[in-house]
Symmetry: C2
Subunit: 151 residues, 2 copies
DNA sequence: TATTGTTATACTCTATAACTATA
DNA sequence: TATAGTTATAGAGTATAACAATA
């Protein structure tokens, strides 16, 4: 039986292991699709959050605007995403997945689904919402820490 | 109310979001510590799985032996890990975290712990073990997919 | 003036392959 | 012969900064 503090330490270790496994997954999908890691991350962002401004996408990924231009160049060249004109603002560029891009995401679906194989089906909804809670705090906390570091 | 299939799809989406948040966290820790992403991943592996042979560590990270040499050079230069001689095999090099390396891991502990802030304490042990189950399948499945792809 | 994106340059990290030393 | 690691070279991806177009 663990004390509450020990339980939390163990949960942190588990989260570290899962983060590393996620990075493993990322490299594997990149290698299999012939894309780079950043390109594969971009496809995942576009799949989950929908179309984005080019620099917004770069912001998601933590890269500069110059790197964003080069990234979207590569995504277009490989046929997984495309640039579209913004309806009102002629400075802006909207980036959207192509069919091929959506297909790439679909291909990894069963692979990720297998990760839940040992979870009782009735527990899935709760687990799912907890994964999102963890993700949200992890993300906002990362932004907060970086902002505090830069001041 | 969701059907079982819908629940699984939702869980997969949640896992994608968590993987992206983990990559966010990785970039933030790298930036704050002044290390690169791969170096920070290496520190995390060494913290969780203990000392490793240099090429074993490179294997964890999915990089070549040449890149492993350069990586450990950087880790030593920055004082977060050190090379040691293997007791019996004079070809091998053991890589181990320094105090400074352990300190780096400790600094991100409270940050990760905050991610569990909204989870009822009594649910932590179950959640923790499920995170590990997901991580393990994700990792082995990634290796399997890459191996199948390379044949 | 501020914002969005592009271009040019230099730097970091990685893969590949040839090599050395040890098993 | 096979394995662990090193070195040299080339290529991919990124940051930085200067720039153009639009708001």
């Amino acid at each position: 039986m663990l004390t509450p503090a020990e339980s939390l330490d163990d949960a942190v270790r588990s989260l570290r292991v899962l983060i590393l496994a996620g990075e493993n997954y990322r490299q594997a999908t990149a290698q299999m699709s012939g894309l780079g890691v950043t390109e594969t991350q971009a496809v995942s962002y576009l799949s989950i959050y929908g179309e984005r401004g080019q620099n917004d996408l770069g912001g998601d990924l933590g890269i500069s605007s110059g790197a964003s231009t080069a990234l979207v160049d590569r995504l277009e060249r490989q046929g997984v995403a495309q640039r579209y004109a913004h309806p009102h603002d002629r400075r802006r560029v909207i980036v959207r997945l192509t069919e091929k891009g959506h297909g790439l995401v679909a291909r990894s679906h069963s692979w990720l689904a297998a990760s839940f194989g040992s979870i009782p089906p009735e527990d899935l909804p709760t687990l799912s919402s907890r994964l999102r809670q963890i993700a949200q705090v992890l993300r906002t906390e990362s932004e907060r820490q970086v902002a505090a570091d830069q001041e």
